[in-house]
């Protein structure tokens, strides 16, 4: 990942940088029966503007990985054991203003300069000169700046992930107030900098920092009209966000409560809410699992088109390989808290290397299989309580060998862009649990 001599001033076409790199992430859970190694040394990169599919079966730790990005794993019972998630914030490309040019590699955004050195490169940004924060260690306030603005998330069950008590408008307005208050105020024709009473009141409301007395004050003339202007501006923006997701008649939907909408509609609202601030990275955690096929198809279509338009990177988590095969550019296969294999879609689906990946692909039923001849992966997913230093796939693997039981394969590069953690492909075992990060490898 050669980002060293990258800066807004150079016009050389930049190779796609990783917007986020997960490095040896370890998240465990305290349970009655011991420590569950839910995520146990996971490393991967998400490249600019790509869709990375993260597949795996129930309990493989994919959701935990995803939630770790926004620090949404409840602690306790969760335990952040180690690792880092490097996130490189972006800003609109000042050269093309977001439409995409060769400077920003058609992405419309450029990396922020390093907060320490501001470009030349220092040890803080290990010489790359670009902004780089570790999502696991930054302050809560900085985290809140990133949440919903730079990184947004779509949850599995839109029915549960939307607050049943608030209208759609209220819920989308929230995220705008939180991150786009200036824009709202400008639209409403207020000066965001204004320091007089009205200005302060308006600003505090637009950033939803207003307390009850202020709210009361805002509800009486002359402030009333100002509040109305603010509300109107917000409504506009909410409506726009909804229109983005092809919701007909957004003005009607805005006033609804979640339970009045169909599942597909709810998921659209979730997406609208997630993309309202045009994030650099969108995390989609099984966004279509709760939906019917026909609805799912439309949501997938929507996500894809929006992603192409916004040029945001997407981390698409799913248990369904066929879905992943439709949306993602690259795919990472997870098993029992580890990454089993990473590669481009073609690599994973046409020449899978890891026995587990092969097994998964073979297990999907279709007309072509002879009935009763599905190649199932025997056995069940191992319990992740204090797992022994061996390949996690031991016991279910058809090619199991001695060293698989004694040592732990590491994720090693097999061909360009294709890593696999299996001794068949990387002979010499490395018993240390600590995997060299795939991010470091590409630097």
């Amino acid at each position: 990942m050669t980002l060293t001599n990258t800066g807004p001033d150079t016009h050389e076409v930049r190779p796609p940088g990783a917007i986020a790199s997960v490095v040896d992430l370890k998240v465990h859970f305290q349970s009655k029966r011991g420590v569950v190694h839910a995520v146990d040394g996971v490393s991967f990169d998400i490249l600019d503007g790509e869709t990375l599919g993260l597949v795996g079966e129930t309990g493989c730790g994919k959701s935990v990985t995803a939630r770790s990005f926004l620090r949404l794993v409840p602690m306790p019972p969760g335990i952040a054991v180690g690792g880092a998630i490097h996130f490189r914030r972006r800003r609109p490309c000042q050269h093309c203003g977001g439409d995409g040019c060769e400077l920003c590699d058609g992405l419309g955004r450029l990396p922020e300069e390093c907060s320490q050195c501001g470009g030349p490169g220092c040890e803080h940004c290990d010489g790359s000169g670009i902004d780089n924060v570790d999502l696991l260690s930054i302050s809560e306030s900085l985290m809140n700046e990133i949440r919903g603005d730079r990184i947004a998330m779509i949850f599995q069950d839109p029915g549960k992930a939307l607050n049943p008590g608030l209208t759609i408008r209220e819920q989308i307005a929230e995220v705008l107030y939180e991150h786009r208050s200036e824009e709202i105020m400008e639209r409403a024709g207020f000066d965001p900098e204004a320091s007089n009473v009205t200005g302060t009141l308006v600003r505090r409301r637009a950033t939803q920092r207003d307390r009850r007395p202020e709210r009361i004050l805002m509800s009486v003339p002359p402030f009333r009209s100002r509040r109305a202007r603010l509300t109107r501006a917000t409504d506009e923006m909410v409506a726009e966000a909804l229109t983005e997701t092809q919701i007909a008649n957004p003005l009607k939907v805005m006033r609804r409560h979640p339970h009045e909408l169909s599942g597909g509609m709810k998921q659209r609202v979730m997406i609208a809410q997630a993309l309202a601030c045009n994030p650099d990275l969108l995390i989609a955690d099984e966004p279509t699992t709760a939906l019917d096929v026909t609805v799912q198809a439309r949501i997938l279509e929507l996500v894809k088109s929006l992603q192409e338009r916004h040029q945001a990177a997407v981390l698409y988590i799913s248990h369904d390989l066929s879905v992943v095969s439709q949306v993602s550019d690259r795919v990472a296969v997870m098993y029992a808290g580890r990454i089993a294999e990473v590669g481009t879609r073609e690599q994973i689906f046409s020449e899978p290397l890891h026995p587990y990946t092969q097994g998964l692909l073979a297990a999907i039923p279709s007309g072509s299989h002879e009935r009763g001849r599905l190649t199932a992966i025997e056995g069940t997913v191992p319990e992740l309580i204090d797992p022994p230093p061996s390949c996690r796939f031991v016991g279910r693997c058809p090619y199991e060998a001695e060293q698989c039981r004694s040592a732990d394969p590491i994720l090693a590069s097999f061909e360009p862009g294709h890593q696999v953690a299996c001794f068949i492909h990387s002979p010499e075992p490395d018993s240390s649990l600590d995997q060299p990060s795939f991010a470091r490898k590409t630097k």
């Binding site: 029966r33 569950v36 129930t58 309990g59 994919k62 959701s63 939630r67 409840p74 969760g78």
Partner: protein, 310 residues
């Protein structure tokens, strides 16, 4: 996190070879988890002490014959403060020994709560089960009755009943029984309605098992938990309300009952004789508290959500 809640792979633990062994192990697991909680233990300890006190009352005191439930009167030393020889906790205005009252009061309370709880649970569970399991008109009818009963605040209802039946301890028991079954009927009905929608009930029907057997095998065992919890809590509440009724004066005067003692002592407090009502009242409080703690403990472990690793 749902994602990590991988169910226990059954093969991981050694294969048990008899239902009995599994059941006993299950009971053991529940008990251990129950007493992993300090407050629950505290509750249990108090309960045990109280019951012991009730059971061994005749040994702890020389029973006041012929009727030990009547307070003995020591006319020589009325109004004696705590620490008086022979009266460690002092005496009441008319020479009732507070300690005796407390010990035999425990017996009275145990009697009260056991009778009322067993009665109300049986009635309530039966009515609730019928309503919930049969449904339809029967349900409608029973529930309207329940509604009427619920529309009068517990204590006031009991008060009215006891008033009508006349002041006596037996009538307190009766009135409480009349008031309290409703709660169980309601809980049970809700439970049954919820449980009978489970697919294991459908599966049993698909096998062709009889409605009655399905009730006893599938519905009842899976809906009883909250009843157990509620019953535990009520072991406390009933003494609480019973004592209140007695305090108001709905039991015979002069019996060894905590509420009665408190009201007897009440007269003295203006002139500084605090002990006669303080100690018996404290007992009521401890009794109720103990069963509340225990009930909470039960709720935590018996709650199906914590039970199955779903």
């Amino acid at each position: 996190m749902v994602d990590t809640a991988a169910p226990r792979a059954a093969d991981s633990d050694p294969a048990p070879d008899s239902a009995w062994r599994v059941r006993s192990r299950r009971v053991w697991e529940l008990t251990t988890s129950l007493f992993s909680n300090p407050t629950t233990i505290a509750g249990l300890v108090i309960v045990v002490l109280m019951i012991a006190m009730a059971v061994f009352a005749p040994l702890l005191t020389d029973a006041n014959m012929p009727d030990p439930y009547q307070m003995p009167r020591d006319w020589e030393t009325p109004r004696a403060p705590p620490g008086t020889p022979g009266h460690p906790l002092g005496t009441t205005n008319n020479g009732g020994d507070v300690l005796y009252g407390i010990i035999w009061g425990a017996r009275t309370s145990l009697r009260l709560s056991l009778i009322v709880v067993s009665l109300t649970v049986v009635i309530g569970v039966t009515v609730g089960s019928i309503a919930g399991y049969r449904g339809g008109k029967v349900d409608e009818f029973l529930m309207r009755i329940v509604d009427v009963f619920l529309s009068i605040p517990e204590l006031i209802f009991a008060l009215a009943i006891a008033a009508v039946l006349g002041p006596s301890f037996r009538n307190i028991i009766l009135s409480l029984a009349v008031v309290f079954w409703v709660k169980y009927a309601r809980i049970m009905r809700a439970q049954v309605i919820h449980v009978k929608q489970n697919e294991y009930v459908d599966a049993a029907r698909a096998i062709g098992d009889s409605k009655l057997r399905i009730y006893f095998k599938d519905v009842l065992p899976n809906s009883i938990t909250p009843i157990v919890v509620q019953a535990t809590l009520d072991m406390g509440n009933i003494v609480l309300i019973g004592a209140t009724l007695a305090f108001i004066g709905l039991s015979e005067a002069g019996i060894a009952e905590w509420g009665v003692l408190v009201s007897e002592g009440q007269a003295g407090i203006s002139s500084g004789r605090w002990w006669a009502s303080t100690f018996p009242g404290l007992m009521v409080f401890l009794w109720a508290l103990a069963f509340n703690l225990l009930g909470d403990g039960f709720r935590d472990v018996l709650d199906p959500r914590t039970e199955t690793t779903r």
